[in-house]
């Protein structure tokens, strides 16, 4: 499960917020102008003291590395010698890497597969669960349990299930008369296999979000369309989909951001192989930094990744905003 799962969307400022703050602003203050000024200076100091631990850790472990990452991208950095400015040399080297384009292509494929199967298909499952009059909590549990399995465990378990020799999947297929498949060991089947494993471990989140949204749809909406004589398909199109539209759009955006950063599954399952058929961009960053000891190259690649991801996210938001206006 993703750690950022707890926040899908920041709620807008509610009226309660504003009135609470206003009331506080007009709260009785200490008597006397000088006393008030001294009190407010003290208040500010206390307020900053409460914030200080967070600001210091953010500065050391987030902001500073962020700035450092940008400067590394244009320097030769290897932890032994002092960094030397090299201009665009890192970018040139990374671009010339034979695994560079395959990695981007793989990430595109991973993202499309994960978006479809782990972000859109769960809507169908959630709709089905929501139709039930009993057993909803059982099926909700079934949907969520896979994301509780730690990703490393999931990867290693499926590595065993997908094993071409004594694995479960091939023996299942043989009962249907299908010969043994190489799965993770063949360049053509490895990427779909890795994606399937990632999907199994992550689709429950979308199902939970959709289930929560479906429960918010006022029943009157369905009743009104029923009276109009709308069939099931039309009811889904004109009532359900518009009501969960916001969730779909947000889940797709979060899906793009998290799926494009896929790492653990290809790293544990295939190491990126065979023949770079499953390598992802983040994994390539890992290779540069921790296998080649080339921090400059790793940072140049992360910088490219950031720019591409930011462009795609911004484009996505622009398109969905325009669609919302029509």
């Amino acid at each position: 499960m993703r750690e950022d799962a707890a926040v899908i969307m920041p709620p807008a400022d509610s009226p309660a917020t504003l009135s609470g703050r206003e009331r506080e602003a007009t709260a009785p203050a200490a008597p006397g102008r000088r006393g008030r000024r001294r009190a407010s200076a003290r208040r500010r100091l206390v307020a900053l003291a409460y914030l200080a631990p967070m600001l210091v850790t953010m500065a050391v472990f987030v902001y500073y590395p962020l700035v450092q990452g940008f400067s590394y991208a244009f320097q030769k950095v290897n932890l032994l010698d002092p960094p030397v400015a090299v201009g665009l040399e890192n970018f040139r080297r990374v671009l010339a890497d034979p695994a560079f384009w395959p990695a981007w292509q793989n990430v595109g494929l991973y993202t499309v597969l994960i978006l479809f199967f782990a972000n859109l298909l769960p809507l169908v499952i959630s709709l089905a669960i929501h139709e039930l009059r009993w057993g909803r909590s059982f099926f909700q549990l079934a949907a969520c349990l896979p994301m509780m399995m730690p990703p490393v465990v999931t990867a290693l378990l499926f590595d065993w299930i997908f094993d071409p020799g004594a694995g479960l999947l091939n023996s299942l297929l043989s009962t249907f008369g299908i010969g043994p498949q190489p799965f993770l060991q063949s360049p053509s089947q490895s990427l779909p296999s890795v994606a399937a494993i990632a999907i199994w471990g992550s689709w429950g989140l979308a199902a939970l979000v959709y289930l929560a949204a479906l429960q918010q749809i006022p029943p009157e909406l369905y009743e009104a369309t029923e009276i109009d004589g709308a069939g099931i398909v039309r009811r889904i199109r004109h009532v359900t989909l518009p009501q969960v539209r916001g969730q779909i759009l947000i889940l797709l955006l979060l899906g793009i951001i998290s799926a494009s950063q896929i790492f653990t599954q290809p790293y544990v399952l295939t190491g990126g192989g065979p023949a770079d058929s499953t390598v992802s961009v983040v994994q390539l960053v890992y290779r540069y930094a921790f296998e080649y000891g080339d921090l400059g190259g790793a940072s140049a690649l992360s910088l490219m990744f950031l720019v591409v991801l930011a462009c795609i996210s911004a484009g996505y938001m622009a398109v969905t905003n325009r669609m919302a206006r029509i």
């Binding site: 750690e3 709620p11 500010r44 967070m54 472990f61 987030v62 962020l66 009059r133 004594a166 992360s302």
Partner: protein, 295 residues
């Protein structure tokens, strides 16, 4: 039966449920869901069944559906001779440290931003929350370099718990959730506390924290799940085998000489706390998702 709960209504109306076609659609949906449930549960069964097989039976082809020699010896072997007790303890220490530090420091920061009106509060809030939008891979490599050589201190945190605890504090999402919650608390509470002469720290402990139990619970659960499942960061920062958390140990012990059934037992040991947390806190986890939807 939740049939008469108004919010429980689905797309198919009551009348349609009783028609032949409605029944057929519902039956098809049920079949779909049963397939989904089987796909979800079966790998868990397979993990448990594999861990109860003998080293010979687990690698036989075709595999047996049920362990012929059902035995839990793999668990005691994993727990004692393969040090899974140690790894489990390490995972607990790592999670507890992050939980304690993250929640307390985020609580202080969010309380200050929401109620104490620090200078430049808007700018600071922006600086903190904008990080939510930055993919961690952008600063991952220099962050690791930082751990090997902390700025200003010049010490290495590699092979210490602090390598995970300190970066674990920085959770802008948690600050955002806390702040939103504190913003919605009624101002009268704080006025009353001020009239009683309570300082800001006492107000935090006596007024804010008791009211914040729901949001504290949700963030604690999500933090625990996230830290327990984390893999790459401890893999890099804790190379010493005495400090490995479960996920790292499972990864490192694969292949090698450890029999597969014992590896599977180790994987079960790593999964049990997660499943337990889900079963116990299912309501809070679902609430976390609703809360985050802003509804």
């Amino acid at each position: 039966m939740t049939a008469h709960e108004t919010s429980a209504r689905g797309v198919i109306g009551d009348a349609a449920r009783r028609t032949g076609r409605g029944r057929l659609v519902l039956a098809a949906l049920l079949v779909l869901l049963l397939v989904m449930a089987a796909l979800s549960f079966f790998p868990f069964y397979w993990l448990l069944a594999s861990s109860a097989k003998t080293p010979l039976e687990i690698v036989q082809s075709p595999p047996s559906w049920w362990p012929a020699d059902f035995s839990l010896a793999s668990y005691s072997q994993a727990w004692s001779s393969l040090d899974f007790a140690l790894y489990f303890g390490n995972s607990v220490v790592i999670s507890a440290g992050v939980l304690l530090l993250r929640l307390s420091i985020c609580l202080l920061a969010a309380y200050s931003l929401s109620r104490l009106r620090p200078p430049l509060a808007g700018v600071l809030m922006f600086l903190i929350t904008v990080i939510i939008m930055v993919p961690p891979i952008t600063y991952f490599v220099p962050q690791y370099v930082n751990i090997t050589d902390v700025p200003f201190l010049g010490i290495s945190l590699v092979n210490t718990w602090w390598a995970i605890w300190l970066p674990g504090i920085t959770a802008p999402v948690v600050i955002l959730l806390f702040k939103q919650f504190f913003d919605q608390l009624p101002g009268e509470l704080f006025e009353a506390a001020a009239i009683d002469g309570a300082g800001s720290l006492r107000t935090l402990f006596r007024v804010v924290m008791p009211l914040s139990r729901p949001v504290l619970a949700v963030t604690a659960i999500y933090t625990f799940i996230g830290v327990w499942q984390d893999f790459l960061w401890p893999l890099l920062t804790l190379p010493d085998d005495q400090l490995w958390p479960l996920e790292v140990a499972i990864f490192r012990l694969r292949g090698g000489s450890v029999p597969l059934n014992i590896q599977m037992a180790g994987m079960v040991i790593a999964t049990i706390p997660m499943v337990a947390v889900f079963l116990i806190f299912q309501r809070q986890i679902v609430r976390g998702i609703v809360l985050s939807e802003g509804k």
